[in-house]
């Protein structure tokens, strides 16, 4: 009886959806996606943090592949990430630019960096989220890879660890440097 087939369609559709869900589970949702990926860094200009002379603006992001890292002394995950950033600095593997996001007062950021070390080439003070908004940041820490032309190539949410550095950051950086 061919009138039976409509009764099978829900099962078939569920099967197809289940396939996608199962496949989707294997993917890293944190990798998804900033609307800014493959776009030029938006314009921003941040003042220096206390005790430093130079701030950080979009014009600093030229002619080299760099990381832009959003952090804050109040952020626990940033503290977890910090030693790894220090390692990157010691190995001179890549310049890191920092955006010091929403400090409770102007001395908190500098104090924190004094205590734990400063891995950043330049730091912009961002108490009013101007830089964070430009980068579409949802939380700290977040890290962006910017290529030689000042284009955002990758966004990582959460702390950078040795594992995700080797797995995701390294291949992207190598590819960008070869270009």
């Amino acid at each position: 009886m061919n009138s039976r087939w409509p009764y099978y369609t829900p099962l078939i559709i569920l099967g197809i959806l289940a396939f996608y869900f199962a496949a989707g589970l294997g993917q890293n949702p944190a990798k998804v996606k900033s609307v800014l990926i493959n776009k030029k860094v938006p314009e921003f200009l941040l003042p220096p943090i206390e005790g430093s002379l130079r701030g950080f603006s979009n014009s600093d992001l030229k002619n080299k592949v760099v990381l832009v890292n959003i952090f804050g002394s109040w952020c626990v995950s940033c503290r977890i990430e910090h030693p790894f950033l220090m390692q990157l600095k010691e190995k001179k593997s890549i310049p890191i630019y920092g955006i010091d996001w929403r400090e409770p007062d102007s001395t908190a950021g500098p104090k924190w960096l004094e205590k734990h070390g400063n891995p950043y080439t330049r730091i912009g003070d961002d108490p009013k989220s101007l830089g964070a908004i430009a980068f579409g940041v949802v939380g700290a820490p977040e890290t962006f890879i910017i290529d030689k032309n000042g284009i955002i190539r990758f966004k990582h949410t959460g702390p950078i660890t040795k594992k995700n550095w080797n797995k995701t950051f390294k291949p992207i950086l190598e590819e960008l440097r070869e270009k």
Partner: protein, 661 residues
């Protein structure tokens, strides 16, 4: 100790649910009455055990027992009591426990109130309900146990996300779950009927009130969430087509369709397979929502911390539950032949078209929500689907639906007369067309779309009232007779009238607020004035205040219009420390024509002023009022006498002209 008792009783509940999910179904199959007799007491005991477990967790939150991981990560001693309680379900583990509690609660309700149900059907419903419960309880105990201990216990907890510390949001999840999980019961009804191979009017009569209850809760839950977004996110938006919002909207659409197709199944013995199908997908979409929120396959502002293990488990649960039901459906569905034949132009015809439109709308929202996932899995890049897609797909489907919604209640069952119905509605047609033209010509900034929105809103309202007027014989008999008739209308028919009229009012609010919103963002110093939509706002001062667990900047605006109006609006910007977060609390003053809406932002260092955002959101109060009227309609319909007296077993077809409710 109390925490351990809670943990233990949850394990026991899993065991009982396992028994309840198997023995009665076997018993019903073998006609073994002692096995069938397990169902009712098991359902009640299972509910009591989960309730005990839930109370134990609530206790741990109330006394701030930070040796429990869940409490330590989501509570804080300085949190107000209301938010200590709402913290129980403000996290993944606790919310799943609430989910399990409500599943068992609905089961227990059937066990207690389902005396008139056919015994085999009743125990099968309880069995299926317990199988769902078993899945959820196993999920909690294996992947998301809220009773795990933490050593050493911290001095204080991490606190609840401040955005969730809000009265609106405290009750949003329980309502939403009562809705989602209510659909688990209609699902159990559908699967039990498929196992029995029998769908009759008595079955449909039982399904309808439970669907209605679930629909009412779901509507309330969605509206509460939307209202929260409106005043808490601080820019006057109330719907974002976020995946998680869609996840609650899709089951709502399916439940709305189910509500109406069950009427045809009850009154006309038709659309049986379709009603069963809707009952399955309505719960399927609820589970899908749970999966989307908790597995992290889709990014959303609402998503809980994602955990692939949990995702795998919920996906399996989804596949087994819904796949199993669909297999039964493929097997039994073709045998469910309806008796009620009908002409295309008839009340059934109208209900079928609208069912179709609602289902297609739900499907296109599903497609839009999952599209980023499809593209991602197929390695075609990353995309996001936003409001433009949903609006351009959803809105055009709603326009014919509303047109039919006004018309169908005036058609007769089986074979309606289009001409007579239009004749009755000529007043409604004229009024809505004139109203639409009026909006287009006389009001600034009215697009064709705005006037169309106003036209369909007016059409639905006037057509609904015309139908009511016809029923009470207004203008066709004496006024006194009409008023008598008005009081003699069944509560179920009041339910329909209110729900449809409420939707009409809400549509006016939605149309106006998306067309005529006025917004003004500026830096204001103390004493500065700004005029928004005819109201004059003066920033008097901004002061620092101390809340129970936050500090806040409170701005004070004096609002003037003419001599009569002299209001004070006090928006806040709150700074929480546990966890660190800033929230905005908009100050809203509703008026008949719209909300005055003010937000105070950061201090501008250069000028010394404050950034302020002031909106006029036209007819937004109509939207909330309309939604409340809809929920009220569901509530009134539920108190209909019919639902309380025993359902007659005869398959009587009512006289034509009785309204669908």
């Amino acid at each position: 100790m109390i925490v351990e008792i809670g943990h233990f009783s949850l394990v026991l509940a899993l065991f009982i649910a396992g028994l309840q999910g198997t023995l009665p179904i076997i018993g019903a199959h073998q006609n073994n009455h002692s096995l069938m007799a397990v169902a009712t007491p098991a359902a009640i005991i299972q509910f009591i055990l989960i309730l005990g477990s839930f109370i134990a967790l609530t206790y741990a939150f109330l006394v701030s027992d930070f040796s429990v991981i869940n409490v330590a990560s989501n509570s804080h001693t300085e949190k107000p009591t209301l938010y200590k309680i709402s913290g129980v379900w403000g996290n993944h583990e606790g919310s799943m426990l609430l989910f399990a509690l409500i599943i068992a609660g609905y089961g227990a309700a059937i066990a207690v109130f389902g005396k008139n149900l056919r015994p085999t059907l009743k125990v099968r419903i309880l069995g299926v309900q317990a199988l769902i419960g078993t899945g959820i309880l196993a999920f909690i105990l294996l992947t998301s146990n809220p009773f795990l201990r933490l050593t050493p216990a911290p001095v204080n907890g991490k606190g609840l996300n401040p955005l969730l510390q809000d009265p609106g949001l405290a009750f949003h999840p329980p309502l939403l779950y009562l809705g989602y999980v209510g659909l688990s019961l209609t699902f159990s009804f559908a699967v039990a009927a498929l196992i029995e191979g029998r769908v009759d009017a008595a079955w449909a009569r039982w399904v309808r009130p439970w669907t209605l209850a679930a629909w009412g809760f779901l509507t309330g839950g969605i509206v509460l969430g939307s209202w929260w977004a409106y005043y808490e996110l601080g820019w006057g938006g109330w719907w974002f087509w976020d995946p998680v919002e869609n996840a609650s909207f899709m089951p709502w659409l399916a439940a709305t369709a189910l509500l109406h197709s069950a009427i045809v199944s009850e009154k006309r013995d038709g659309l049986k397979a379709w009603t069963i199908f809707l009952a399955i997908i309505a719960f399927g979409l609820s589970l899908l929502g749970t999966f989307l929120v908790r597995s992290g396959v889709i990014t959303s502002v609402h998503a809980f911390a994602s955990d692939p293990t949990r995702g795998v488990f919920i996906l399996l649960l989804l596949i087994v539950t819904i796949g199993g039901a669909f297999i039964l459906f493929a097997w039994r569905g073709p045998t469910l032949k309806g008796a009620g034949l009908f002409q295309p132009v008839s009340r059934e015809g109208g209900l079928v078209i609208n069912n179709f439109l609602l289902t297609v709308a739900a499907a296109s929202i599903l497609l839009g929500t999952l599209y980023p996932l499809f593209i991602d899995v197929l390695k075609l890049g990353k995309v996001s689907v936003g409001a433009p897609y949903f609006e351009s797909v959803f809105v055009p489907m709603m326009i014919p639906m509303i047109a039919i919604m006004g018309l169908a209640p005036l058609l007769k069952w089986k074979r309606g007369d289009f001409k007579t119905a239009i004749e009755k509605l000529k007043f409604a047609i004229a009024l809505s067309v004139i109203g639409g033209l009026f909006v287009w010509i006389l009001i600034d900034r009215a697009s064709a779309f705005t006037s169309l929105g106003m036209t369909i809103s007016l059409w639905l309202l006037t057509a609904t009232l015309t139908e009511l007027a016809g029923r009470i014989k207004l203008f066709r008999s004496s006024l006194r007779e009409s008023i008598n008739q008005l009081f003699r209308q069944t509560r179920a028919s009041w339910g329909m009238t209110l729900a449809h009229a409420g939707l009409a009012i809400a549509i006016a609010g939605i149309t106006a607020s998306s067309s005529w919103k006025v917004e003004s963002i500026q830096i204001m110093k103390f004493g500065d004035q700004v005029n928004v939509a005819g109201y004059n706002y003066t920033l008097k001062h901004v002061r620092e205040i101390q809340g129970p667990n936050y500090k806040a900047l409170r701005g004070t605006f004096i609002v003037n219009k003419g001599d009569d109006i002299n209001w004070v609006l006090e928006p806040e910007k709150r700074f929480y420390t546990d966890p660190v977060m800033t929230t905005t609390e908009a100050a809203i003053r509703p008026t008949f024509l719209g909300d005055l809406y003010a937000v105070v932002g950061d201090r501008d260092e250069k000028s010394g002023g404050y950034i302020t955002r002031i909106y006029f959101n036209p007819l937004v109060p109509w939207m909330w009022t309309g939604a409340i009227i809809m929920v009220l309609g569901a509530g009134i319909s539920l108190t209909d006498r019919r639902h309380r007296v025993g359902a007659p077993s005869s398959n009587k077809i009512p006289a034509p002209g009785i309204p669908a409710e």
